[in-house]
């Protein structure tokens, strides 16, 4: 049996607020493989974002483990895991507004230790691939439209050359054509580059394009291939 790229075991997350407790994820188990694209769907409040936070190392579970290539990411170090192996495209984009589109990408590449002197060129290539006009490359992200910012956020995640790409509603603010293009990029990343792509989405197009669809409801997971 091969070691999965990402393995969730008994993943539970409980939030405490004063004396009240709310369990958002209830013992989720799942194995994600490299070279596949996954869609996580479910109604609002079902725990999709929490699942993404735990799997991407942004948060630690109340109980259970997240293993990357067989190793508990808590042992590996969440910061190191995020830095070397996982990248996330957030729903709220989370771009650094005082930087240009290119600077956002090259900065992330430097932090994640992407080697090479041609970081800038790679950033430009990725932006071009995702349909960001060259004139926008050197503008501060605050001056870009929502769709352009979304593409910059995706380009930043792609540039980091990680093993797993997480995305939270990546096509939410894009038009149909651009969204289709982005889906193709994600599919290519999984199928051609052998990455593991996990997308949290409400979009049927994204779900249809995925290799596997995971339904999250009431903190529990069920799958549909």
């Amino acid at each position: 049996m091969t070691v999965p790229t990402l393995e969730l075991t008994g993943l539970t997350r409980t939030y405490r607020s004063g004396t009240s407790r709310r369990t958002v994820l209830k013992g989720v188990d799942y194995r994600f493989e490299a070279g596949r694209m996954y869609a996580v769907v479910g109604p609002s409040g079902s725990g999709k974002t929490t699942l993404l936070s735990l799997a991407s190392g942004l948060d630690a579970p109340t109980s259970g483990t997240v293993r990357f290539q067989g190793r508990d990411i808590a042992e590996l170090g969440l910061g190191r895991y995020r830095n070397r192996h996982a990248a996330t495209v957030f729903q709220s984009l989370n771009l650094l507004t005082y930087m240009t589109a290119v600077q956002n990408i090259t900065s992330a590449m430097e932090i994640t230790g992407v080697k090479g002197r041609r970081r800038r060129q790679r950033a430009v290539d990725l932006l071009t691939l995702l349909g960001v006009e060259p004139a926008e490359h050197h503008r501060r992200t605050l001056q870009l439209s929502g769709g352009q910012q979304q593409r910059v956020a995706i380009a930043r995640a792609l540039a980091c050359e990680v093993d797993i790409l997480f995305a939270d509603e990546p096509t939410g603010s894009l038009d149909h054509t651009t969204a289709a293009g982005i889906i193709e990029v994600f599919r290519g990343l999984a199928h051609d580059d052998g990455k593991c792509v996990i997308v949290v989405t409400h979009s049927q197009e994204v779900a249809d394009a995925s290799d596997e669809v995971l339904h999250l409801k009431g903190g529990r997971l069920r799958t549909r291939g």
């Binding site: 995020r82 070397r84 996330t88 989370n94 930087m99 430097e110 994640t112």
Partner: protein, 478 residues
């Protein structure tokens, strides 16, 4: 290098905030540097003043010390004075102390009166009112001095020599210099002889010492204070002041021909810090410092440096206040900026950036602003501190002058008849200008202070960064 680049992009990306931070640092650094410069200028001025004025220690009888020592005794035949011979400061003792290696120059004087003889007249243009007993004041006032030229009235021009010569360290013990009005009343000229009696009042039931001492008039001087036109006790009249040698003065104090008895001795020290050594040498010479304490008369030094020292004190307080207030204000600004930048920090953390490097980025940003401000402060502080220091000092000098003008004149032991000797000597003019000099050491000091403030103001609130969780920041509200 990434964090430096990010810091640069952040600083240039938020130019308004950067300029505000630089401005705040500039104000802090300028005030701190001005404080340092004013303090340094004051220290230099004080050192110069000390070198100029020197440090003069005075030795004279402390009556309370004598009483406390239990050495007071009844006078013997009026020769010991009212407090007895134990209160006599002898020249032989003073000469031994003068030989101390820490003494650059020494001086001594006597202070007493002299009764006229039958052939000598006091200058009394207006006689005493009918029935008034003026025996206790019908005397010449006799100052025993070593150098007439060093006497205040002669130094400040209130008195000047008309003929003959003055008293010098080489003068013989029977020489006297008299005022021209006394000379005229007694038909005296330089080279004549003047007879005087000891100016000691007899004890109850005792006879006054009527021995006459002959003095040779070696000079006649003129005092600028004119006759008042009304009755003035003879001893208070400047015309009746005579100058003799310390030996002559001792005789006129009724101390006979033995060891000269002095009123006070002054020792100019080579180094003001040598006072303790002088006291040890004085004790070794046999002086009882409880009866004859040696004190430093630093009135002139204090008058010179008082205002500039107070200005420096104010500058020191300012430095501390500004440094503390600056740190607090900057810490609050940085704390508020950290709150504002939570999302940015969360994004960087989500990319795997390490928390200490986030803190370092903050520090680099604040330090860059501080360095720029320190440079600007260095360029402006000399002019500013000259202006601020000058203004502060002018206020202090003005206050000091007002205070001096309203302060009652303190008794001057070197002048036996204060008030009867014309206008008092003008007090030393306080230092009224500052020599502000900006050097690398000052820049270094303000640089260290500025960077210290930057580090404290960043690291204290920055500890919050270490507690940040990217998930909480980035998904809050989602």
């Amino acid at each position: 290098m990434n964090l430096f680049k990010r810091a640069w992009w952040r600083l240039t990306g938020h130019l308004g905030k950067t300029l505000m931070l630089v401005g705040l640092f500039f104000v802090i650094c300028t005030l701190v540097l001005s404080g340092f410069l004013i303090r340094a200028a004051a220290a230099r001025a004080a050192e110069d003043a000390r070198a100029r004025v020197g440090s003069v220690a005075t030795m004279q009888l402390d009556v309370n010390g004598l009483i406390d020592s239990g050495k007071t005794r009844k006078p013997e035949g009026g020769q010991g004075g009212a407090i007895g011979a134990e209160g006599d400061l002898h020249r032989s003792l003073v000469e031994k102390i003068c030989a101390s290696p820490v003494v650059a120059r020494c001086n001594y004087s006597t202070d007493g009166g002299a009764f006229p003889t039958e052939n000598t007249r006091l200058h009394q243009p207006v006689p005493p009112p009918q029935g008034q007993d003026s025996l206790g004041t019908d005397l010449f006032s006799a100052s025993g001095i070593r150098d007439l030229g060093a006497v205040k009235d002669f130094r400040n021009g209130d008195s000047r020599l008309l003929s003959g010569r003055g008293i010098t360290p080489d003068s013989k013990s029977d020489e006297v210099v008299v005022e021209e009005r006394v000379a005229k009343d007694n038909n005296l000229k330089a080279g004549d002889t003047m007879k005087l009696m000891a100016g000691v009042l007899p004890g109850p039931g005792q006879e006054r010492d009527k021995r006459e001492y002959a003095f040779k008039v070696v000079g006649i001087y003129k005092n600028s204070t004119p006759d008042s036109g009304s009755y003035v006790p003879a001893m208070m009249d400047p015309a009746n002041r005579i100058y003799v040698t310390p030996d002559g003065g001792s005789k006129l104090m009724g101390k006979g021909d033995g060891d000269t008895v002095l009123k006070e001795a002054t020792f100019t020290l080579k180094d003001p810090d040598d006072l303790d050594r002088l006291r040890k040498d004085a004790e070794a010479a046999g002086a009882d410092l409880k009866i004859f304490p040696i004190t430093v008369n630093d009135k002139q030094y204090k008058a010179l440096v008082g205002p500039i020292t107070r200005t420096a004190g104010f500058a020191t307080v300012t430095v501390w206040l500004v440094a503390v207030a600056g740190t607090v204000i900057l810490a609050l600004i940085v704390a508020s900026s950290l709150r504002e930048r939570r999302k940015e920090l969360g994004i960087l953390l989500s990319l795997g950036e390490r928390k200490p490097r986030l803190l370092a980025q903050h520090l680099v940003e604040v330090t860059a602003c501080a360095v720029l401000a320190i440079g600007l402060a260095g360029a402006c502080s000399q002019v500013l501190s000259q202006a601020i220091g000058g203004r502060l000092l002018a206020g202090e000098v003005s206050s000091a002058k007002d205070e001096a003008a309203h302060r009652p004149q303190e008794p001057d032991h070197s002048n036996p008849l204060p008030g009867a000797n014309g206008p008092k000597e003008p007090a030393a003019e306080p230092i009224s200008s500052m020599d502000i000099r900006l050097g690398p050491a000052d820049i270094g000091k303000v640089g260290a202070t500025g960077l210290g403030i930057a580090a404290l103001a960043t690291l204290l609130p920055g500890t919050r960064v270490l507690r940040l969780n990217p998930r909480d920041i980035l998904t809050k509200g989602d």
